[in-house]
């Protein structure tokens, strides 16, 4: 085994980055080996964008003062990243059931690297969902300029990290697949309706205003819309905050959620 020992890299940074890549690669490998997950990732946009979005477009889009189709497409893209990443995190419960979490936790790497890799891996399925959403949008005649699409794609890891970190707070405490699935619905559904993904929230007030300000997806959506609507007349009416503020809030919320979620996860596994 000496030859293997000789190849061992000692840089801490290398090992942590390698861990993130390795865990992420495992998630992607498993994704492609599960035809059901692939089909669901691509079918979900059909339901979200095609059915919910199409219905809203036909019945509620009049007199808004902006192009609802484009507004909704952006909302659905971010929602898809959030929703699929969040749901993907429930696989941690599967890993717990097959004792694979123990194999990961006994390795000499940071728990944050393990969780970050897991989130980014789940984010890959989310990006597939995003692609599906774009295809459905194209069929519905809603498109975005390629440059702006690339910018959204560049922001997608941040969205996935934000959604996955939020999911970790709950997943870190749950050990039942059934409860995990319900909890994920509990996280994703309110965000879809209250953070402005498909319904504008500029005029929200009272408890709903407090709720949408507490949701990380509100800031993710606002950041993406600030990119999409930059320089357009709709910018003032559709974008709520300065992009720098959005970015800062997302970063802070992600780090806080990641720290709390990882702590819960490691603690729950250690006190099983």
């Amino acid at each position: 085994m000496n030859e293997i020992t000789l190849t061992r890299k000692n840089s801490r940074l290398f090992r942590e980055l390698n861990t993130v890549v390795t865990v992420m690669a495992r998630e992607i490998t498993v994704f492609f080996k599960s035809p059901g997950t692939v089909i669901m990732s691509l079918a979900m946009p059909l339901m979200m964008m095609g059915m919910i979005g199409g219905n809203l477009m036909q019945n509620m889009a009049g007199g808004l003062g902006f192009e609802f189709g484009e507004f909704m497409l952006v909302g659905m893209l971010v929602n898809m990243l959030f929703m699929i990443t969040t749901m993907g995190m429930s696989s941690l419960v599967d890993d717990h059931d097959i004792d694979f979490n123990q194999e990961m936790l006994v390795s000499p790497v940071s728990r944050y690297s393990l969780v970050t890799g897991k989130i980014l891996g789940a984010g890959f399925a989310a990006v597939m969902g995003m692609v599906g959403t774009l295809i459905v949008g194209l069929v519905m005649g809603i498109t975005l300029p390629v440059g702006k699409l690339l910018l959204i794609l560049a922001l997608s890891p941040l969205m996935c990290l934000s959604g996955g970190a939020l999911a970790m707070i709950i997943i870190g405490l749950i050990k039942s697949k059934r409860t995990a699935n319900l909890a994920m619905m509990f996280i994703t559904m309110p965000q879809m309706f209250l953070s402005g993904a498909i319904i504008p929230i500029n005029n929200s007030s009272g408890a709903l205003l407090v709720l949408n300000r507490l949701m990380p997806m509100t800031y993710c959506l606002d950041l993406v819309r600030s990119v999409v609507y930059a320089g357009s007349p709709e910018y003032e009416s559709l974008v709520m905050f300065n992009p720098v503020v959005n970015f800062a809030v997302i970063a802070v919320l992600t780090i806080v959620c990641l720290m709390i979620g990882t702590y819960f996860f490691a603690r729950t596994e250690k006190n099983r």
Binding site: T19, V30, I98, S107
Partner: protein, 314 residues
């Protein structure tokens, strides 16, 4: 030097009436083969879980290779390899993908998406190890298509891939057939001979602990005895001569006259002795029809231990 040092270890689970591990202390030397024996619920898995840093302790001190399991958990994890009680492989990956995942997590190689793209040293080593444990044909098959024995062998390859100083085996042969058990132990012994790896074993199979350097018996969370298997057999059990004669009455009379204690057990007369059996046999004049020397096994000692500590064998 002690590779494992446990002092006054206590683990009390939330809402539990009694601690699962109560004031346990023992040490395992460098290169030693150590076994932890006890019935279900005795505290074996709780202890091993604390040693491998996956469970927090309530109090006490645990050091592995000189590192504290809580303060220097990362260093401890570098030094150990673990085979868990239940298989911990990803059933959706292939055997090789599971090994690659482990090797990359331990920082031995940068991750590459396929076996062919991994460094030559990795490929050579994986093929070599697979051949030793006889799973070369199954290397690229999904885990869910491998037998229990093959999965266990794969876990051994995986746990040894990063050359650990201490190998923890938590009932590694549970559910394996006799042939798989034997070949698995052959491989583990080979590794011990070659690399001097310290082995910490918990098992239900008493025969697996016969060849260890040191064995500790644990029950109700407490260590009842800790010594070499030979010493343990001597301290817990006595050697016996099993005799029979056509004239049992004469044999009994002679034994009494010689001052040798004996019992009649069914057809046979059982004579406990210490030291040499020859010295007893040479003094007997009655013609014997049966003469057997009963050497106690570790299993006998274990059963005796359970009888005296009041818990059924697992």
């Amino acid at each position: 030097m002690s590779m494992i040092e446990v002092n006054n270890l206590v683990k009390r689970y939330k809402r539990a009436k009694a601690p699962s591990v109560a004031d346990v202390s023992f040490s395992v030397g460098d290169g030693e083969f150590f076994a932890f024996l006890g019935p279900n619920g005795a505290g074996k898995t709780t202890t091993i879980s604390i040693l491998i840093t996956t469970l927090s302790k309530t109090s006490g001190e645990v050091r592995i290779a000189g590192y504290d399991v809580e303060k220097d958990a990362r260093h401890v994890r570098e030094k150990i390899g673990v085979i868990f009680q239940n298989p911990s492989l990803d059933p959706q990956l292939t055997a090789e993908e599971n090994i690659r995942f482990h090797a990359c997590l331990y920082g031995m190689y940068g991750y590459r998406p396929t076996f062919g793209l991994m460094p030559a040293a990795y490929r050579k080593r994986v093929l070599e190890l697979a051949e030793i444990v006889g799973i070369q044909d199954a290397l690229f098959r999904p885990i869910k298509k491998l037998s229990g024995g093959m999965q266990r062998k794969l876990e051994i390859i995986r746990s040894l891939a990063h050359t650990p100083d201490v190998l923890f085996l938590d009932e590694p042969t549970q559910g394996l057939d006799a042939v798989s058990r034997r070949s698995l132990w052959e491989y583990i012994n080979k590794v011990r001979d070659q690399y001097g790896t310290t082995v910490f074993l918990t098992t239900h199979y008493i025969d697996e602990a016969e060849g260890v350097d040191k064995v500790c018996l644990i029950n109700h969370g407490k260590i009842a005895a800790c010594s070499s298997p030979e010493e343990m057999k001597k301290s817990l059990l006595r050697q016996e001569l099993i005799l029979d004669s056509e004239d049992k009455t004469a044999l009994a009379r002679e034994l009494s006259a010689l001052g040798l204690p004996f019992t009649v057990n069914g057809q046979h007369v059982v004579v406990p002795y210490q030291g040499s059996a020859q010295s007893v046999i040479a003094r007997l004049r009655t013609k014997l029809t049966v003469l057997r020397i009963h050497e106690p096994t570790l299993e006998d000692a274990y059963v005796e231990f359970l009888n005296t500590t009041g818990r059924e064998a697992a």
